[in-house]
Symmetry: C2
Subunit: 382 residues, 2 copies
Amino acid sequence: MEEKGTSIEEIMKELETAHEEDYLFEGGRVLGSMCTTPKEGSVDAHKMFIESNLGNPGLYPGTKKLEVEIVSILSELMHGKNLHGQMMAGGTEGNITAAWIARNVTGKDEVVFCENVHFSMNKACELLRMKPVMVGLNEKYEMDVEDARSKISEDTAIVVASAGSTELGVIDPIEELSELCQDNTSLHVDASFGGFTIPFLKELGYPTKPFDFEVDGVSSMILDGHKMGMATIPSGVFLLRREEDIRTIAVESPYLTSVYQTSLLGTRCSAGVASLYYSIKSLGREGYRNLVKDCMANTNYLVSEVKRIGLDVPIEPIMNICGILVKNPAGIREEMDKRNWKVSLSGHPPCLRVVIMPHVRKQVIDSFVHDLEEVCKEKGEL
Amino acid sequence: MEEKGTSIEEIMKELETAHEEDYLFEGGRVLGSMCTTPKEGSVDAHKMFIESNLGNPGLYPGTKKLEVEIVSILSELMHGKNLHGQMMAGGTEGNITAAWIARNVTGKDEVVFCENVHFSMNKACELLRMKPVMVGLNEKYEMDVEDARSKISEDTAIVVASAGSTELGVIDPIEELSELCQDNTSLHVDASFGGFTIPFLKELGYPTKPFDFEVDGVSSMILDGHKMGMATIPSGVFLLRREEDIRTIAVESPYLTSVYQTSLLGTRCSAGVASLYYSIKSLGREGYRNLVKDCMANTNYLVSEVKRIGLDVPIEPIMNICGILVKNPAGIREEMDKRNWKVSLSGHPPCLRVVIMPHVRKQVIDSFVHDLEEVCKEKGEL
């Protein structure tokens, strides 16, 4: 460390240089991220609450009230009653927490999920010393119910389903899985991406399926405000049907204003609470519905353009995530990366994966498809 | 969720009301938090990098560079060479990560720590299914070396020591513990609080002890930029002596710009990286030293005032944390809370616990001691 501090001008110049090297959502070519530019104003809300730390909740009764209000609004949106809710870092923390609670509540060790579950479930199993039990996919790339039936047993602590999978945005057959879960088996829904999308897809008349607490067996859910919720990172919301189950992960927290801590993290960046509050309140159902409507229009436009140039998609998109079939996804991705397009890959089936977030405009899609066609011709895909 | 969005004016009014209910550091009476008002300017740095997510590092090469620079500066400060370093949520994530790596590297299950370790170690053990082995304290409330000698065995995966314990800010005898650790036993230092304090205490001539990578056996360390580092939450820095050990917790991350993810969290609020960069660069050694100097002067003033009114302290403070001995700590805390003083408790020995962060000014201490004397007289402590 230098003895003397550097001048503010010099530091700001360094920060600006670094900032320019980052890929920004706005006006950018980021087609492989589930995050997006936060709703205008929600960043100011975040900044206003920059000191907030719900890890020490007694100091932040105002932030706590905002969290309670968010949990109440989202519980209702997710057809839940008297749920326990808390905000956390996001999908990975939510998935780990769900498995952790299930391990402690059920006294069992097996975690059942399918091949397109988010990779954090492998992390959760390794961390928690639980046994992953893999279920295959059906022709729509959803969890295969018949295979799940054969894998769910009296050793199953928890079944983890996706509502908006990270791969292709599919919704697992959560009603059917619920029927397969015994009384003493938890069912967790990873709605990190779909939580702020599916309710509005439904209102727009798109085909969706029951995925939330209206399904009896659903024990817990994570949904991310910093994905389609249009808020800053971190604004994950964890919902738990049986409030008392959270006590199984409680640890005494003697130096804090709370007697117990019931979260994976200690000190927590809780400015996202204010940010999500801002986004939810300012957008309302109408605002989210319009965002989802625009994203779906752009997604459908991408599909038609992909087909026009002679490529195909593995499934018609359920939400604003689109797979694009090519013979060599990794190779095409690399070429597109050289042209500064940030797309990603999906494994089931192997394909390019494009997430059409609100920052992805129609002219960006045109430009992307133009480059994709060129690259695919160069590489013999077309 | 309401159908229509609420007006910006109304939302901002709600947020301001909530913000006023939170206890703020500046000018406030928060004497029980290890966080403080971030360095001016570092909140703007945080805001500038609000989209940053090192969970998907390929999109944020600029943020990544800042992280690399921070790790380099702090590695040098901590006498480390060629360390692996990454930024994370903070002390709890760092402690869990250290135990997780040790479990996987050593293939063993026991975690040795002493009674005043941060409570996140109990969380880590429960989460990771590791066995906590408790060591007693010596008369200075540090880990007792002789007791540790009898508890460290060939089953010990990791010994966790504090450099600036959460309770009283003591530094465990890390050199002696290092000698007790076998080749295949990790030694983690929780320097969440002390990391940004001890090097400057040493420069100021206060008595300190070797606590970092200059001690051969130290495997890993966590230090929090959002505590005495003067940055925003989350700006924890995890340092690991053997870079290759991080691979033991790697999980494939197929949709991201990285092939593997080696962190507990997925999506990560990484704006704290820019914030900590700002604080480190603008303060320099001189700036941190002056902060530590002022905090110690105020801490020593508190001790003299506490003694003046007829109370005592369990130990002369090592850093800017002060215990205050009373017969009924919980009762006195409650009374002080009614007077809007936010202090906390320490368990070894049972006492009040006051953290003299940079936001705690001399006149606040005067006012606090005044109320403490009144409350102690009312309750028969004096």
